[in-house]
Amino acid sequence: MVLLMVGVYFNQVWAQDVIYYGSDSNAVRQVQQKLKDWGYMKDGVVDGHFGWKTEEAIKNFQRKNGLQVDGKAGRQTLNAMGLGNLLQKAPAQTTYQSSRATSTRDETYMLAQAINGEARGEPYIGQVAVAAVILNRVEHPSFPNSISGVIFQPGAFTAVADGQMFLDPNESAFKAAKDALAGWDPSSGAIYYYNPVTSTNRWIYSRPIIKTIGKHVFAS
């Protein structure tokens, strides 16, 4: 039996009169975003890549709006979506890729995890303070220059070392992370904190103390 491998070859749609497989990812992304927002694409991802989920979502939209159901976002469909402007665009003259919206979700999540691991049970202000210390370290020359770098620096946080950090953070931890990212710093610029009752690190006691919040002493 001879198995024929049929390579499916999608044409690049240059003139943008229909958004379909192989279309410019910019345009695809905009279509996907609308479909997602309106609930037509429940488990697809807005990634600029036209796949079967996108096609299905378009079909859903077309069905709901009395359009010809063919899974292609052509003139009528795009106009119905309010994306008529995509049709006018001439083929891209540069290869400039419009940047994806960088999500702050990963930073927020990481910070929330760290808060949950390090300051669970502390007053809300203590949680924001812990996140603020992490952010202060990012700015500070003696520490790594990224949030992940600071959190995962070997030996820096006990909750990271013993895996406590990997529990699912709660609502309050998320808000605390967001508040710290938005600029609230209840620690007044601290880059160290410790629990004087449980800390075994003697060096840290030599750091100038800024204040105490809950069980933690904050120092610079």
């Binding site: 003696s142 967001k178 508040d179």
Partner: protein
């Protein structure tokens, strides 16, 4: 009877064998992980060594290079290497204490190279102080190489690498090396590139200004009791139940800390407030309220925030950016004078989106930077400034603004907001020199616009 004994014996033997096999596979697995981990560490170590050797060579070359282009290239390479080295260093399994100074050194080396690189691009020559700094930096990097190479030699000589050897010996070697590394004599420069997107101006420019004296706080020192009165006036007596004292704060602004139990609260909700010891102003406030149902729209929330500020005596505050998350809206306000938006005078207000209560307030930026300002006339006109902006940018908004620089100074600029393809950018043109002072990229997230 005998049979049962036999079965039990066999069962026991089987159990032992299973346990043995399990133990053996666990042991192998552990070794695999250990090796993998150790390899990662070694990878970082070699990369570090490589980068520092690169830095040493580059700095040596910089001493004798004449051309501006060469210099610029050399320092850009150095900056890149310093950054990479710092990264590698921070991933080694060596205690932060031993690495502290070296890390600082690398960071400052990076910043310094960056700013010299920028300087030489603009044709400015390196002055004598900077030559001295360069020599010192070069010497420090040589020391570092020697220590690292010795460490490497030790590890090889030891024969088969023991797990944790890097950690043990490394701590010692790097601790010693850092004694020879010179820090504070380097001219202080802060990095310009931010590492994560933030709400504008709290944000790419704001950091913890530890040597700065607050300009906006004048007057007498106050007592704890007076602080409490200020809180009641700030929050409203209907909101305040009990006030408890918390720790004092020693930072850029010295404060008294308080915990406020809301009136009639029988749960965990608290508001935390810090009042400045000089002048008795509320520097920040944070309410731990959890918002369940969002019913307020952003424009309405903005109205509340605006009214709140006016009520507290802050006039001429213009909203600049906003964010919405977890049922709250955060608004950034900047002070406006003579049609110039002054970003360093920053106040943030958080509004609860269920009932419009003000549950967050942050004015440290404002109190540190705000003072009497005499704003000079721009040297170049709006049109001249506009010419300096790349014509690939479709500008849709323009105004004058004062922005902070990385050297913690303030600069008057024309602010142009525009689009390029599908991205939005903000370009600042220095109103005196016409130079492109700063470019920010607006990152649109589903919680608000951030800049990077």
């Amino acid at each position: 009877m005998r049979d049962r004994r036999k079965i039990t014996t066999w069962l026991l033997i089987a159990a032992f064998v299973v346990a043995g096999i399990w133990g053996f596979t666990q042991y192998n697995q552990k070794n695999d992980y250990r090796t993998f981990l150790e390899n990662q560490y070694l990878n970082e170590f070699y990369s570090l060594l490589n980068s520092i050797e690169g830095i040493e060579a580059l700095l040596a070359k910089s001493m004798i290079s004449q051309s501006d282009e060469q210099m610029s290239l050399i320092f850009t390479e150095t900056w890149k290497n310093a950054d990479l080295a710092q990264n590698n260093l921070s991933r080694l399994p060596i205690s932060h204490l031993a690495l502290n100074e070296t890390s600082k050194f690398l960071n400052q080396l990076g910043d310094f190279s960056y700013s010299i690189g920028k300087q030489t691009i603009n044709g400015k020559k390196i002055n004598d102080n900077q030559w001295e700094d360069l020599e010192r930096l070069h010497n420090s990097s040589s020391y570092l190489i020697t220590s690292l190479q010795k460490l490497h030699q030790d590890m090889i000589d030891g024969g088969a690498m023991q797990f944790g050897e890097l950690r043990e010996k490394g701590r010692f070697a790097l601790g010693r090396a850092s004694d020879n590394v010179i820090q504070d004599s380097l001219t202080r420069v802060e990095k310009e590139m931010t590492t994560y997107p933030k709400l504008i101006y709290d944000g790419p420019f704001s950091s913890h200004l530890s040597e700065i004296k607050p300009k906006g706080l004048k007057g007498e020192g106050i007592t704890r009791k007076e602080g409490e009165k200020e809180i009641i006036s700030f929050l409203g007596s209907d909101r305040v139940g009990e006030i408890n004292q918390l720790s004092r704060g020693e930072g850029v602004v010295n404060t008294y800390g308080y915990e406020v139990v809301p009136y009639g609260e029988d749960g965990d909700r608290r508001a935390y407030v810090e009042v400045s010891r000089t002048g008795g102003k509320v520097v920040w406030m944070m309410d731990s309220k959890v918002v369940e149902n969002v019913t307020l729209t952003m424009p309405k929330a903005l109205e509340r925030a605006n009214n709140f500020l006016k009520d507290k005596g802050f006039s001429n505050m213009t909203p600049s950016y906003s964010e919405k998350y977890n049922g709250v809206a955060v608004f950034n306000f900047a002070y406006e004078q003579d049609d110039v938006l002054i970003y360093p005078d920053l106040i943030k207000v958080q509004v609860a989106l269920d009932n419009g209560e003000i549950i967050g307030f942050e004015a440290q930026g404002f109190y540190v930077a705000h003072g009497e300002r005499k704003i000079s006339e721009p040297e170049i006109s709006l049109d001249e400034a506009k010419d300096m902006v790349s014509n690939r940018l479709e500008i849709f908004k323009e105004r004058l603004a004062i922005i902070p620089t990385e050297a913690k100074e303030e600069v008057l600029c024309y602010e142009f907001k525009g689009n390029f393809q599908d991205d939005t950018f903000i370009v600042y043109i220095n109103a005196e020199t016409g130079e492109e002072q700063q470019i920010l990229k607006v990152i649109q997230t589903n919680t608000g616009d951030l800049t990077m």
